[in-house]
């Protein structure tokens, strides 16, 4: 099968987008952007300076009031235009994502669709941000109104696993509600957001409304510390999420900081095994296990363990790895050499602690892509609750197979985890399903669904160490995060 064409072989030195202009960074620190499938260097990203970040914040702040005064329906019109342009650029967005992140083209197309869905939801802003009124609400002849108002400048610090979708969990809602915005994409995968920002520019958003600043922690810290930034959204690992939450809060910001995960998928004896295995393959191996909603622990309850494991091994052996621009590929590489090393260390550790590696992806080599960071699908049997691999986030295509006596045991185990992002149950029993969704303390629950990814009109975040904050990303929570309620009490003599 011939590869789909790459949009560009090399994207050169990236610029920042500030106040409606593409500007060169003055930094002397640049990072190479690597294609994780081929090992090729496909561009360079600047580690922008503190002053450059401050300039973006000032530009966003300067643009804010006029944007706030723009009627919501006029703001919405720009999102309709943006949606139309994104549909036209759909395939290019997906292919750039494959090039810089390593996911398969189908995964990238799916992500592009979800990215657009956030624009579609934000385009409904005139209805979504309406306030409410009550005649005689305060007393006889005294009316009371609650008005939903924007706050100013917001910013997002984004991870590498979803280069398009995650910035769009936030900025469309912020901007649609009348705020201005700064996105700092992951320096490992800045190309997709760079391309999408060009589409935003083409759609006609006024200067300063959306700004793009490439860089590292200097950019993030400047956003968190700057008095004109009202709030920060973050997605990444738990230690960094904790830092972002604390540091932003210390500086008086609103914060939503999404952290790591350790998701368990529980298979009951009455599960439909064929459908279950097909669905779980996408959960554990999709995006090479680098979703915060990816399955990690597979908990087989009772006598389902042996038949489940047999089918799972059969399915795993059929997973085809390669460069995601080959449409027949099921799984791409992990994002970097560092990420690969970390995944391999977890597999080594599990073996040392007594687990048995049934399918070993540590030495996987994909012909023609020997420089790619591929880790093959890996199945580890005999994992017990005390092992490191059962408790820490691996972020790779590794299945920790665990056997438990009952659903209660599985739920107890899930509750001992410091994370609470997602958990799923596979069963044909409504009773078990109801019990599971009622009792399990996670932000996202799947019933015969292995990737519990909330749609744009539903909120997304986890519990416990998977999330720091209160209002989640997307949906009505996003509207609330980016606005405040102003109460007006009126009396006319």
């Amino acid at each position: 099968m011939a590869l789909l064409t790459e949009v560009q072989k090399n994207y050169g030195k990236l610029k920042n987008y500030v106040n409606g202009e593409w500007v060169d960074s003055t930094t002397d620190k640049w990072l190479d952007i690597e294609n994780p499938s081929t090992g090729a260097i496909i561009g360079q990203v600047p580690m922008s300076t503190v002053d450059e970040t401050k300039a973006a914040i000032e530009a966003a702040n300067e643009a804010w009031w006029a944007w706030r005064e723009t009627p919501p329906i006029a703001r919405a019109r720009l999102f309709f235009k943006l949606k139309e342009l994104m549909e036209q650029h759909f395939e290019n967005v997906a292919r750039i994502m494959v090039q810089e992140q390593g996911k398969t083209i189908d995964e990238a197309r799916g992500e592009t669709r979800r990215t657009i869905e956030n624009v579609e939801v934000a385009a409904g802003i005139p209805s979504l941000m309406m306030g409410y009124s009550l005649e005689d609400g305060a007393a006889e002849g005294i009316d009371e109104d609650a008005i939903i108002s924007p706050l100013g400048v917001f910013g997002a610090i984004c991870p590498f696993n979803f280069p398009a979708m995650i910035p769009f969990w936030f900025w469309p809602y912020a901007v649609a509600t009348g705020n201005t915005y700064i996105v700092k994409p992951s320096s490992q995968v800045p190309l997709t957001m760079n391309y999408l920002t060009k589409i935003v520019e083409q759609a006609g958003f006024p200067p300063g409304i959306l700004n793009l600043v490439n860089g590292s922690h200097e950019v993030s810290d400047t956003m968190m510390e700057h008095p004109k930034v009202k709030g920060i959204s973050f997605v990444g690992s738990t230690p960094v999420a904790k830092y972002i939450y604390k540091h932003s809060a210390e500086n008086g910001k609103r914060v939503q900081a999404q952290g790591g995960a350790k998701n368990s998928l529980v298979v009951m004896p009455d599960a439909n095994l064929d459908r279950t295995v097909a669905n779980m393959l996408a959960s554990y191996y999709g995006c090479a296990g680098q979703r915060c909603l990816a399955g990690s622990n597979m908990i087989a309850v009772g006598n389902v363990a042996d038949p489940l494991l047999k089918k799972w091994l059969e399915g795993t052996k059929k997973i085809k790895m390669g460069y995601g621009l080959d449409e027949s590929v099921n799984m791409g590489p992990v994002v970097s050499a560092k990420a690969k090393k970390k995944v391999i260390e977890y597999i080594d550790g599990a073996e040392k602690q007594g687990a048995k590696v049934l399918i070993d992806g540590r030495k996987a080599v994909v012909p023609r892509y020997e420089k790619g960071h591929f880790v093959g699908p890996t199945v580890i049997d005999g994992v017990t609750p005390d092992m490191t691999i059962a408790n820490e986030e691996v972020f790779g295509p590794v299945v920790s197979f665990m056997r438990m006596e009952s659903m209660d045991d599985a739920i107890d185990f899930i509750h001992k985890s410091p994370f609470g992002n997602a958990a799923s149950i596979y069963t044909q029993s409504g009773r078990s399903a109801r019990d599971f969704r009622y009792r399990v303390q996670c932000g996202n629950i799947g019933i015969n669904v292995g990737i519990v990814a909330a749609m744009a009109y539903f909120p997304f975040a986890g519990y416990k160490n998977s999330f720091f904050g209160d209002l989640h990303g997307q949906g009505q929570d996003a509207i609330k995060f980016f606005t405040d309620r102003k109460v007006v009490i009126t009396r006319w003599y």
Binding site: F90, T104, I105, D106, E107, G110, G286, E327, S328
Partner: protein, 149 residues
């Protein structure tokens, strides 16, 4: 010969790509026949069918863009690529009847592909399944039309 590149049907995207290649192949074959003086009497019909298959190709691409959802990217393991390959080596100088017979084989194989793809899509995408089913039925209708030549 119309160049096609049929993938292994291991993912939904690959199934869609296979479908795009089928449509591209069929459109190309009809275009070749339409240009061949030996089948001049059916040139208009073949031109029309080439346009129809190009339209179908655009519909398939649109379906992929609008319906593909990363939540349902389950690996596909039950479609054997070899069963659905079409012959796009267009015979030169084929008269209308011979050309129709050649094209009927393409429509027949395509129909089988869509029927089987519809069954697979049913578990992951109801609308995609309906779309594939409709495509397969349309292939059979074209085949009947060709058989009448």
């Amino acid at each position: 010969m119309v160049e096609c590149d049929f993938p292994e049907c291991t993912t939904f995207g690959a199934v869609v790509r296979f479908s795009i290649e089928l449509e591209k192949g069929a459109a190309g074959v009809y275009e070749e026949f339409a240009k061949d003086p030996a089948a001049a009497s059916t040139a208009a019909l073949f031109t029309e069918l080439a346009a129809l298959h190009k339209k179908r190709m655009a519909q398939v691409e649109n379906m992929r863009q609008q319906k593909l959802n990363e939540m349902i990217l389950e690996p596909i393991q039950d479609m054997n690529r070899e069963l659905y390959l079409i012959d796009t080596r267009v015979p030169k100088g084929a008269d209308a009847k011979a050309a129709a017979k050649f094209a009927m084989a393409i429509e027949d194989t395509s129909s089988r592909f869509y029927v089987d793809a519809a069954k697979i899509a049913k578990t992951i995408m109801a609308e995609g399944s309906r779309f594939m089913d409709k495509m397969g039925k349309e292939n059979l209708a074209i085949k009947t039309k060709l058989a009448a030549l």
